[in-house]
Each structure stands twice: as C-alpha cells, then as structure tokens.
Symmetry: C2
Subunit: 196 residues, 2 copies
C-alpha cells in the first residue's frame, strides 16, 4: 500500500532527495529516542548537512513531524476499515480505539500535533487525519446503527478520547491511559445513557 519510502512533494533533484531522506531517517531515530523535543540543528548535524539545508526541506519542526507521521496515519485508517468487518460493532470500535491509542503512544508527545492537525487545513497531516476520522466515523456509525452506542457519539468524540487517553498514559502510566479509554468507551455505550 505504501513503499515505506517517505514521500517528498514533487520531483526533486537527486541530491536533494538523498538529503531529505537522510534527514527524515535521523529525525525518526531521534524521535524514537527522545520524543518530540529533539534539536533540529542536531538532526542536520547528524545527517551531515548544513542547517540551512535542513530548513530548506522542513520549514518548521512541525513540518518535519508531519512528514514523519503521515504514513502511520494512513495505516491506521486502513485498520479501521478492516475492523468494519468485526462481528460485534462495538468490539470493532473498541479494538480500533485501542490500536489508535497505541499508535499515538508510540509517537509520544505528538498527541497535540494530531489534535491540531484535524482542524488545521494547512497541515500536511490534515488529509491523513481526515482519513482516520472517516474510518472512525464509519465504525461509530455502524455501532450506532446497531444500537450499541449512544446516538450522540461522534467520530470527533472518539478521536478526542483516544488522544486524551494516550496523553494521560504518557503523563502518568500507560495502564492509566488504558483505564481512561475503557471508561470513555463505556460512556459511549447505549446502556450508559444516564438520564437525570
């Protein structure tokens, strides 16, 4: 579905493409090791290019992170679509939510970037986010039709829950994130409609 090779915008000169990829590779390594707060200058240094070159490819830290995330997001959306075939609609939804949370947790520190990307049209990630949201929407719609979740649950609710739970897990401990996700999902269920 995806070559694994990062996707620069258009045709690039050969040397430019080489640098682009080296930078992205270094960034991925730095990210895996330190989260989102690595030094951009350091990335350039380790990739063996001048920092001006770095900025030529990625105007801001955000641009870089977005390039890093795009592929993952698309995969997640695909997983969502597969789960539409799950026996229980609610279970499909819950399974997907857990997978999404793991995804977000791996990219620790990026929850904020993700949340903002959905709303920001200028974000590179916007398209990918929309796809994820669409996948979520389908899962939610199916569960709703089956009467397994409340009628007022929306895809953005799901998206927010997943990201918030991932965030909570990052701040305290991963199990806390999972608990939160579980409670939230239960809050989505039809049986939870506490009339007051």
């Amino acid at each position: 579905m995806d070559t694994g090779t990062p996707t620069p915008r258009r045709r690039m000169r050969a040397d430019a493409r080489r640098n682009y990829e080296r930078l992205l590779a270094e960034a991925a390594a730095a990210f895996a090791e330190h989260g989102a707060d690595f030094s951009l200058e350091g990335i350039a240094r380790r990739a063996g290019v001048a920092n001006g070159t770095f900025y030529g490819h990625f105007a801001t830290r955000r641009t870089l992170l977005e390039a890093l995330l795009g592929d993952r997001m698309r995969t997640l959306a695909a997983t969502g679509t597969e789960l539409l075939a799950a026996r229980s609609p609610f279970e499909g939804l819950a399974t997907w939510a857990r997978a999404a949370m793991v995804h977000t947790t791996i990219y620790r520190g990026l929850g904020a970037a993700l949340m903002q990307a959905v709303e920001d049209e200028t974000s590179e990630l916007h398209t990918a986010c929309k796809a994820v949201l669409a996948a979520g929407e389908e899962l939610v719609a199916r569960a709703r039709t089956a009467g397994e979740v409340r009628p007022d649950v929306t895809a953005p609710d799901l998206y927010a829950l997943v990201n918030a739970a991932a965030w909570a897990g990052e701040q305290s401990s991963p199990p806390q994130g999972e608990r939160l996700l579980a409670f939230g999902l239960d809050g989505f269920r039809t049986s939870a409609t506490g009339r007051e």
Copy 2:
C-alpha cells in the same frame, strides 16, 4: 483561607522578598497571556531584575510554575470537601470534576505538570496534589457507597479523566473537553458496567 500572598519558603531578606513577589506577579501575567511557554529571561526583564536573580529564586521553569499553582490547588481541594454535602453523590462528583476541569483549563498547558506532580515526591506541588486527590477520593468513595459509580473507579481515574479532558479541550475546543468529561463520567456510572 489563604492570604493571596505567595508563600516563600522561609524568612527572606526584605529585598529578596520584594523581588520574589514581583517575579511571581510577572510570571502570572505572562502565564495568563501566553500559557506555560513564556521566556524566563523575559520575566526577569519585566520584573526589573537581573536574570541571575531570577534563577536565584526559581531554579527551573518548573519551580516557578509550581509556586504559581499551589494556592489554586488548595482551593480546589476545599471545594471538593464542600461538595461532599451535595444531595446526589454522583452529582457532587460530577460538579467537582467540572470545576476541576475549568481550573486546569485556566492554567492551560499545565495539565502535564499536574499529572506528573502527583507521582513526583520532589515536586513542590506534590502535597497540594495529594490534597486534591484526597478530596476526589472522598467524593468517589461516597458515590461508590451509594452504588452510583462502579466499584473499580478510583480517585486517580477521576484525576486522569479531568486532566485529560482539559487537555483535549485545549487542543481542539473547550466543548470537546466537556463532552469527553461527560462521557468519561458516564463510564464511571454503575449502569455503564458493560459485561462482556
């Protein structure tokens, strides 16, 4: 309950105390305006002291933020205790949760600091957090006894939910945070115990 005057550790020299207070005041203003990412150097500048003086009072950004938050936290704990008198235990809990979320939202960007402070014994805020957690625990316990929330709901769950919802509200829109909180609280309810 609280003089409103920030609380330096011990007896300080008069000039030192004056500087301490000016710094804290500037920090509060900067915080209100830009969230947690203001420049420490700038605070010193605006307070009219050398930056070395700043660092003499607050070793790290965190120290400063903690000083800024302590009082608010204590207030929140007190509110929790008052709400123990609410007619409906669940409503008392929910009301407090909403208040706590507002509190956290005002101090936008500090959710992370709060979450970590609970677990970090070296934090100035640790005591205040414990107090908040204790207040939450009492509210949860009361609701649990009344059979209004699941038996496995804990104060840390509540704490995590509130902070995560506040975070979500910061990232997208405040209403999204409130929705998340509502779903989470419903997930806490006894009726939501989806056996599977």
